[in-house]
Symmetry: D4
Subunit: 247 residues, 8 copies
């Protein structure tokens, strides 16, 4: 390894210090150990590798899985087509699939629960479930206790209010909603924990593929709310896990 | 009057029928009585004339008021500058002004209550009050029993829920909200009367001058809701009055 | 029932008042009777259950119908695919279908007419008919006398003017239009009843999927007009019914 | 003059043909007479020079006028500030000013009427007048018989219908409207001449500075309509004149 | 006929004048002859009926054609699917079809040339041809001498300049362009006739389905230009014909 | 208190259980104890009351402060004008003001540090500081250890990299950036804690008042990032505090 | 040739100079040699002809190739469908195809390297490769030494930093990125050469088909960056070549 | 210096190699010499420091200048207010100011011409000059031979064509245009050098603050064009200089 070699040369008086200084400044970053950054996250016990499958061919996905398997880590695939999963299943017997959310899971060892509390995933309507489930399975696979309550949109507010005790038990809440997207605002007025708002593209006409819900959430009067991209269930689940493992 | 003249000429054989037919077809509309259309609305007892003051000079507004006074009807002015009102007041002693909503009122005779029930005006926040008051004073001036409950936005849902009995007594509800604009959706889930949603330009950043609230309201999952233009308190008050006078 | 039990325990001195107070405050909402809210609407004689079919699988829709049938209420389905209807028809012999508007109707008992007057549905062009029919069948199914006049757009104004007597007989008007969407403005200048404007996505180029018609309607100079979402025929029909049943 | 010189040199055998050919190909355009293009328009008897004053300093405008005066042509200034006009008036005694439309006119000789028929300028409301007047004075200054009828918007359709005989006498119609901008569509259904639609920025909220009217006009179902930029009264007046002088 | 009957009754003293006045005011418009308005355009010799085929079923189109045939006028269909044409052709032997522009033509008698000059149709690129051809065939079918020059976009300005003499011969120019849409501006600087600019949806990325070309054309610095909707070749052809038949 | 009274009446057999049940269901929410919800947050030791000063008059703000003072809680004002502060300072001697971020602070007792770790606030440029400071002072006032590093935007990436050890010590990071808004993405690739991205309206042209930065942040490829509204420093600081007090 | 003929006629006194002058001014441009402009680019040794295949039929493309072959130049086709290539390959044996970027290449003689330095093509992610490859193969075919480094997005900044020495060797850099599109900004802070930023439509939700990346790049704080259209790999490659051949 | 100290300790056997390795990996970047990156650009002889003055107070700007003066480099300020310059001038006698473009220049030593060829700056209209001048003075101050030709927009194409020989002499062209923004497309068809297109916010209505010109430029059919942000004259000038100093 280059860096070590330089130090040894200095120690052994093979090179002088000025020359060593100059060399150090011009070393590519990876030689200084920065290349380790990228692998940091996966080094934790049980933390999975993640593959965003959309726009990748079956061959590419299988290739990536094969490479990951060498490290023996768990694997989480998002937006994985059913046909792709069928091919994977033939090779990797322990592969599992969640149809609604298109989540692929390959568990090579047990998931260690590293979350400090409970993550709660809510949806406004039943059509928001695919996005919500992406958050749900992501957070579970990252080692969290996750609960989901679906179809508690604000147009029937009692549905949400009657679950207030469950809301109050959560450490982080993921609130998924399309159309008018007002769910996070109401939840934010009821509890005092971080709320991750996920707009969905559910709706038609002036919802503009989720923009209406996105704007609603960004403009929420309630405090403690932040927003991820439209339909980004994975991002919400990942962030919820990141918050929930804070000591 | 032309039309009468033609008929008299026919009666008196001064002109023949073919000639009369031809003339009738080419008469300007007003001579056929269609010009009455425009005055229909004001013909009802106590119904006011309306002046949209924005973009009109003080002189123009005073001129219009003078002309209207001839008919001795009540006069409602919207978006009237304070300075303009001061000039009006000097001439028309009975002129009144609502500062927040910039409403001008000149009552030349008593307002007859023609509404069948109560109109309720709600706001999400205190900054929505100018728009809400425009709806409130418009509906009142058009002869309605109007009640207002302000600052009952969805981020503190109990504020709204604790007034549910008032909501249920209304015949029409005007729900005014800026920022995320979710108020009408929640109200729509609680009661079963027509709800007129008014988005306001209150907010900043990604509220885009009221577009966020507008989209929220158009995409509401609750039924019985329709929307007027951003900040259009007058339109909401007028429509509420139109609904409330239905027999 | 919990709430009753608490009161009986108080009456029988099984628990003291402080303890009862505490319990009451922590009861889930539904136990306090609030769960009734949601069923309110359907409790009226003849009022239908509504299913928004888009984005639901045939199995899900059949499951919901089965559950609803237990209550023996009428059922209205919107945006129902023809193939779905065919499956439903095999099980529910009394199911009916409107192809243009994709409306599903299952009448388990007669529709009671609860509207106070006539609802009129207008369109600007023939391509707006699917959306207009959604409003038409919705309002009819909710117990209203509904009339429709189609293809009376403003580019041939005489078509509209020659029906002015019909316009004047309506208690509520639903005006459906795509492209430039000017129909509601003209109608609003002719009559003095509530007008529900429905923009449609009909058109091409700079109509932006209905945005042009939506903006036209929101900016109407005529009074008494409010707007629902693009292509939201159901919402317009439902709101028309809500207004028309006002006593 | 260069071109002539080359030809003379060829004629006089001072240069050979190949050399002349090469030179001709490399001459700047103006030397070939193309520089005349730009002055074409002004060469007609009475046709004015035009100055778009917005964004130009008083000094610049005065400089341009001075230069133009040399050609002794009439001068039309658009979007000219009142203060600028006051300075111009001191120097050019025959300068005139239209306050509403901010039109500056310097007539150095009589305007010759070159239009073949009458141009009609309409507005939907009174706030559209500044833009309409810009079209009106432009077309007049370009030598046309122009008539204006203002405040005949579609929300009071009888106002327009009662002038139908005037509409039918026009050779070109300029229809100016803000807010919902539906005027050109209705006019287009009544007459069969070219209609130039001018959206204005008049309105508030979801009119987005004139975009609502612009989209309405672009999406008109009526035939024979085309659109210019928001508030572009000059462009409409100029185009109307261009059409009206067609033989 | 009602109107005649009333006049006869007046003449014969069967009814008095007040009663007649009242009746006249309440007659439906068509009885006063206004229903003729709509048929005005087709009454001219050879002027075709027009069917906008998009969004209409084959059955609907065939039905409309059958009805039109009774009047024995020529028929122009726009955006007609090839399959639809094939069905039409089986019934109407004289039906013709232009594949690129999807124009249907049924000539029941000769087209009389009513245009006063030549209409010129230009495109920026070859992909704009379908829209340009829609304008071309529309204008021809409406009785005009039309010429087309395609692929003369501004990125190779000499292609346009070398045809300047042809440009100068036209009475009206239709300039069709996608992508940056600058063609009308350059043409507008070269000639002094009305230019109808047609933005097309040709392009990708930030062309936003034709919005880039639309905005370019609306903001043109050249005078004498107006714009129709994106891809609206028919509208441009129709307007060109309307201008070209001005006497 | 009503609820207690009902229970006592039940106990004393003054009213029967059915009557009591009916009454309970119709009690306003606050009587059932739900009115406490709103005050929950402030009940914690040292947690401040918050006033959003924008759009409120000096009188209104002073009125609110006076009312809050009764509870003796600390007070945080956001977007407070300098002139308003000057008036407040005259009455409340302990009022403090941060000019850049327009933060008003009235400390009536010591702030108790309730955050579990350190919050780090970063900005891309110096112009983002007002927004960042709003986050900084909010989080501090809510009882947190907060550090700020400003002007470490991605166009000079070494500025950020050289502080990596500080980044790694933070428990929550607030990343504030205008223009291209790429800062959170880069930070998200370096550390594994929750990142709250705040787009600012800093920039010009195609930044569209902060939309460019907003979209960048919503589309970040890095995990663990969520976004608040444009310029919403308060929201970011509040959310950071909410996360940081999680046990 | 006309021009020569005129000169000869002048020389031979067949026509007088005034007549010649007049004729010259009215000659079509091409006769003056301007028609050469268009062929300039291809006249260089080895410079290819370019066909944009999208929206052209196989027949059209084959026709164009046949015509180009006459000039014996190399041919580059962009956005060429695989099926089209298969047909071409049958006729032109030396045709080659790059599947990812859909680039067609027909080399009729060797490519001469005319670039002065190295062009470097970078991508943020693997999904950006098709666009990046379009730039890569375009620049190579235009005679450049091109290197590509893919998947070095800013969310894992060390991947980019560790290649800094390669970045510093490039004369021009093409930086291709979708989603948040921050790559060019970071690269712009590291090196001091022209950077051509290419936004891609890769992503979902609020990326709006590449608009998010486009805005990021336009708003970059780094200097030396300019932007081409979304997904316009060809344009970037062509511009890189244009810069790289500067002497 | 830390790094040197570590190496000396290694050399002197004060620390062992493993310990040194660990320390090196955790050193802040600047200690490794990366902090030099930022100053690279200014190290070249005569290259100026740049201050973006917008949004900075006079005090801040004076402070920055004072600090920069220590390095004795030239200083370029952009978007500098006249009032700010007046204060600077009092302290720095050699300060110069360009009023139209708001450029501040402090020349502490001569500008060395490092450009290899000529940079040409063009504008479409006279209102684009402030932006164009920003590019012009920036490029000059960075050591380039720059020429400007203003008001050669495409609506009068001969103005541009007659300068073709000047266009062909440029090594880089900056084309500045507002309104329809078509200038770069036409220039791109005439010459074969890199063209930097600068959209300006000049115009009104549907130019949307420069968006129309921006889209036109992004969608240009001509090759060799790239675009910078709206009104970003500095960016264009800087990029032109970056290209022009390529050897």
């Amino acid at each position: 390894m280059d860096l070590k070699k330089i130090l040894e040369d200095v120690k052994n008086n093979n090179i002088d210090i000025e020359y060593a200084l100059d060399k150090l400044k011009n070393l590519p970053y990876e030689d200084l150990g920065y290349a380790n950054i990228d692998h940091h996250r996966q080094l934790r016990n049980g933390y999975p590798e993640v593959i965003y499958c959309e726009g990748k061919s079956d061959e590419q996905i299988l290739g990536i899985i094969e490479k990951m398997k060498e490290k023996d880590s768990n694997i989480l695939g998002t937006r994985c087509r059913k046909e792709t999963f069928d091919k994977i299943k033939k090779i990797y017997n322990n592969a599992e699939y969640e149809e609604l959310s298109k989540i692929l899971k390959i568990k090579n060892h047990d998931i260690v629960n590293i979350g400090k509390g409970k993550i709660l995933v809510l949806t406004g309507g039943t059509s928001d479930i695919p996005v919500a489930d992406e958050a749900y399975y992501t957070a579970k696979f990252l080692g969290n206790d996750v609960e989901r309550i679906y179809d508690v949109g604000v147009a029937g507010i009692h549905r949400l209010l009657s679950r207030r005790h469950i809301l109050e038990e959560a450490r982080v809440i993921v609130a998924v909603a399309g159309m008018e997207g007002a769910l996070p605002s109401v939840v934010g007025g009821l509890v005092d924990v971080p709320i991750i708002a996920v707009p969905t593209s559910v709706g038609y006409g002036a919802n503009f593929g989720g923009v209406s819900a996105l704007l609603t959430m960004l403009n929420s009067c309630a405090s403690g709310i932040s927003v991820v991209n439209i339909d980004n269930g994975f991002g919400a689940g990942y962030l919820a896990a990141t918050i929930n493992k804070l000591k």
